[in-house]
C-alpha cells in the first residue's frame, strides 16, 4: 500500500514513517505542509494519505482542506486525518466529501500501533473510522430528552466502537463478549435511536453520525 504523509512536526513525521514502513506500508511521499503534499500528489501514485489537520502556514485546518482537495481530485481517495483535538465539524466536513475511505482520529491513537494500523487499513479499504471522542462530543451536545441518553453504558460503548468502523466480530473481541451479545446490543441501540439495523460497518457509522448530527 502506497501512502502519502503530511505532518509538520519533524519527530512525528519521522516516527510515522518508521511506524508505517515497519507495518509493511510504502511511504511514497511525505511533506511538512499541505501544499507540498498536494504538489507531490498525482492520481494513481498513491493509495491513500495520512494528514495532520494543523499545519503551516496558518496552523488551522490546512490538512483537512488538503484531504478534501485530494478527494475532489480522486473521488473517495482514502484519507486518514489526524488531529490533536477533536472537532466534530471537521468530521462532518470529511463525511460530506463522501462516505468511503474516510478516517478522523486523535493523534495519540498512533500509540496503539495495532489498532491504528487496523483503522488505517479499514480506511484504505474504503471504510469509515471516527474517533470515539468525536462520538462522545456529539453525544455531549444532545439534550436530556434525547434517545441517545437512554442508551446503557455498554450500548454507548458499543456505539462508539461501531462509529470507529469495527464489525461485530471485532467489537465482540474488543469488549470480550459473544458476537450474539454484540448483535443484541446493536439491535437495541438502533431500536432506541429509531434506526434500522444494517450489516455493513461504515453504513452503520454513517447512520449513527447522520442521526447525531441532525
Amino acid at each position: 500500500m502506497r501512502l502519502l504523509i503530511a505532518e509538520d512536526d519533524a519527530l512525528l513525521r519521522a516516527g510515522l514513517e518508521l511506524l508505517l514502513q515497519g507495518e509493511g506500508f510504502e511511504v511514497v511521499g511525505s511533506a511538512n505542509n499541505a501544499e507540498d503534499l498536494l504538489a507531490a500528489f498525482e492520481p494513481g501514485s498513491a493509495d491513500g494519505a495520512v494528514l495532520d489537520v494543523r499545519m503551516p502556514p496558518s496552523f488551522t485546518n490546512e490538512g483537512l482542506r488538503a484531504a478534501l482537495d485530494l478527494r475532489a481530485q480522486v473521488p473517495d481517495f482514502p484519507v486518514l486525518v489526524l488531529s490533536s483535538y477533536v472537532e466534530d465539524r471537521y468530521a462532518s466536513r470529511l463525511l460530506a466529501s463522501g462516505a468511503q475511505g474516510v478516517g478522523y482520529l486523535l493523534k495519540e491513537r498512533v500509540g496503539k500501533v495495532g489498532d491504528f494500523v487496523d483503522a488505517l487499513r479499514r480506511v484504505l479499504a474504503g471504510g469509515t473510522v471516527m474517533d470515539p471522542e468525536v462520538i462522545a462530543q456529539l453525544f455531549s451536545r444532545r439534550g436530556t430528552q434525547d434517545p441517545v441518553r437512554s442508551l446503557t453504558p455498554r450500548e454507548f460503548q458499543v456505539l462508539g466502537l461501531v462509529a470507529e468502523g469495527l464489525g461485530n466480530t471485532a467489537i465482540a473481541q474488543a469488549i470480550s463478549v459473544s458476537e450474539t451479545a454484540v448483535s443484541k446490543h446493536i439491535g437495541n441501540i438502533f431500536a432506541k435511536l429509531g434506526l434500522s439495523p444494517s450489516d455493513s460497518g461504515h453504513r452503520r457509522v454513517l447512520a449513527a453520525l447522520a442521526y447525531l448530527r441532525s
Binding site: 512536526d9 519527530l11 512525528l12 516516527g15 515497519g22 493523534k107 498512533v110
Partner: protein, 435 residues
C-alpha cells in the same frame, strides 16, 4: 485685591514675553489672512490640499505659543497636542476641521492676531517713548521755530516741554506697571483658550481608554493564541511522540525485546522535551518567581543572570497588579536579552520605579546600556514608513523590541527608545498601573 508687587526681574521677564509674542505676531496674522483667503475655496474641494497644511502650521504656532505661555507662567504643558497626518480623506478632513482642537486653535489665532502686536508695542513703546519724552523735551530750544520738536504735540515753549516731560513720566510709570498685567492677560488668555475644556479632556481620555482597552483585548487574544501554539507545538506534539515511540517499542518487543530499547530511549527524549516545553509555557503564562519575590526580586534574578554586568535600582517601586508586574518582567527580560545580543555594551543600568503622573500611577522600566546603539523599532502595522535596522527586531514577532512594544501597548503603556548610532541606548517603558 492687588497681587504681590512684582520684582524688577518679573517685570523684565514680562517685557521679554510680550516682545516675543510681538515677534510671533506676523506669523499669526499670516495664517489668519491665508485662512480667510482660503475660506471661499473650501467647498470647492480645493481645500483638501492646503487645509491640512494650514492646520499643521496653526498647530505648530499654537503649540509654540502654549509653550511660551507655560514657560512664562511656570506652568506645566497640560496635555499632548494632537499630531496631524500628511494626508486626509474628505471625511477625515471634515472631522479634523470641526474638532474641538481646531476650534481652540482658531480662537487662539484670532486672540493672538488681535492683541499680541498691541501688547508688544505697549511693552516696547512705552519705555522708549518715556525715555524720549523725558530726555528730548528739554532740548526743544535746539530746533528751528519753523520746524519745532514734535513729540506728543509740538514743543514750542517751556510749558510744553514741562508737559512733555510729565507725559514721559506718566508713560514711564505705565511702562513699569503695565507689562506684568499684560503678560498675565496674554499668557493666561493663551493657556485658557488652548487648554482643553474639562469635557474635551474627559472625552479624550475616554477615547484613549477605549483604544487601550481594544489593544489590551487584542493583545490578550494574541497571547492566548501564542500560549496555545506553544503548548500544541511543544508539549502536545512531544507527548504524541512519546506515545508513538512507546507504541513502536511495544510492537518491536513482540518480536525482539532488544529492538525496543532505541524506541524507549527516544520516547524518553521526547518526554523530556515535552516537560521542557511545558515548563517554558507555564513560565510564560506567569513567572512563578514573580509571585514569590515580587517584581523587584524577580528583576534582580533576571539582572544577575545577564551576561553583561547589570546594576538594578528598584527603590521607589510599589506593588502593581499581577498582570502589569508580569508585563514589566517580560519587558525587562526581553530588553536584557536584546542588549546581550545586539548592544556590545559593557554595562547595563536598570531602573524600576512607580511614578505618579496625572490621573494614574505608571510603572516605569528603564534599561540603559553603554553599547553601540542603533536599535530601532520595526514599523508598526498601520503606520506607513519607518526605519528598520536589524537590531532588536527578530523575525519571531513576539520577541525583541516589537515584543516589548506589543506588551507595552497591551497595557496602554508607552515605549520610548533613544538609541542613536554609536549609542548609548536608553529604553523606557511606562505601564499604567490601573485602567
Amino acid at each position: 485685591m492687588l497681587p504681590a508687587r512684582p520684582s524688577l526681574e518679573t517685570r523684565l521677564s514680562a517685557v521679554r514675553f510680550l516682545l516675543r509674542e510681538m515677534l510671533a505676531w506676523p506669523a499669526s496674522l499670516g495664517v489668519l489672512v491665508a485662512g480667510v483667503v482660503l475660506l471661499p475655496f473650501l467647498p470647492l474641494g480645493v481645500g483638501l490640499y492646503p487645509v491640512p497644511r494650514l492646520l499643521a502650521v496653526l498647530n505648530l504656532l499654537a503649540s509654540r505659543a502654549q509653550a511660551r505661555a507655560c514657560a512664562y507662567g511656570s506652568a506645566v504643558v497640560p496635555f499632548d497636542r494632537r499630531r496631524l497626518a500628511d494626508r486626509y480623506t474628505f471625511g477625515e478632513l471634515a472631522a479634523l476641521v470641526s474638532a474641538p482642537e481646531t476650534k481652540r486653535d482658531v480662537s487662539w489665532l484670532l486672540f493672538h492676531a488681535a492683541f499680541a502686536l498691541l501688547a508688544g508695542c505697549l511693552a516696547a513703546g512705552l519705555p522708549l517713548a518715556a525715555l524720549l519724552y523725558v530726555v528730548a523735551a528739554p532740548f526743544w530750544t535746539l530746533f528751528p521755530s519753523d520746524m519745532p520738536l514734535e513729540l506728543a504735540f509740538p514743543v514750542t515753549g517751556w510749558p510744553a516741554a514741562g508737559a512733555t516731560v510729565l507725559l514721559g513720566l506718566v508713560y514711564g510709570y505705565a511702562a513699569w506697571l503695565l507689562p506684568p498685567w499684560l503678560a498675565r492677560r496674554l499668557s493666561g488668555g493663551t493657556l485658557g483658550i488652548l487648554s482643553p475644556r474639562r469635557y474635551d479632556e474627559l472625552s479624550r481620555r475616554i477615547q484613549d481608554l477605549s483604544t487601550a482597552r481594544a489593544s489590551a483585548l487584542t493583545a490578550h487574544a494574541a497571547e492566548l493564541r501564542r500560549i496555545e501554539r506553544e503548548l500544541h507545538d511543544g508539549a502536545q506534539n512531544r507527548l504524541v511522540g512519546v506515545v508513538m515511540m512507546l507504541g513502536l517499542a511495544q510492537r518491536a518487543a513482540e518480536t525482539d525485546p532488544a529492538a525496543a530499547a532505541p524506541f524507549i530511549s527516544r520516547a524518553q527524549d521526547a518526554a523530556t522535551e515535552a516537560l521542557a516545553g511545558l515548563r517554558e509555557a507555564v513560565h510564560d503564562i506567569y513567572p512563578p518567581i514573580l509571585d514569590e519575590l515580587g517584581l523587584g526580586g524577580a528583576a534582580s534574578a533576571l539582572t544577575s543572570r545577564s551576561p553583561i554586568p547589570c546594576a538594578l535600582d528598584a527603590h521607589g517601586l510599589l506593588r502593581a497588579p499581577a498582570a502589569v508586574e508580569s508585563a514589566a518582567y517580560f519587558v525587562l527580560a526581553e530588553a536584557l536579552t536584546n542588549a546581550a545580543r545586539h548592544s556590545n555594551a559593557s554595562r547595563i543600568e536598570v531602573v524600576l520605579r512607580t511614578e505618579a503622573i496625572p490621573h494614574e500611577d505608571v510603572l516605569v522600566v528603564r534599561v540603559r546600556d553603554d553599547g553601540g546603539g542603533g536599535a530601532a523599532l520595526p514599523p508598526s502595522p498601520g503606520s506607513g514608513s519607518g526605519s528598520e535596522s536589524g537590531t532588536g527586531s527578530e523575525s519571531g514577532g513576539g520577541t525583541g523590541l516589537a515584543g516589548i512594544a506589543r506588551r507595552a501597548s497591551a497595557f496602554g503603556g508607552k515605549l520610548i527608545l533613544t538609541s542613536p548610532p554609536g549609542g548609548p541606548t536608553d529604553l523606557r517603558v511606562e505601564l499604567p498601573c490601573a485602567f
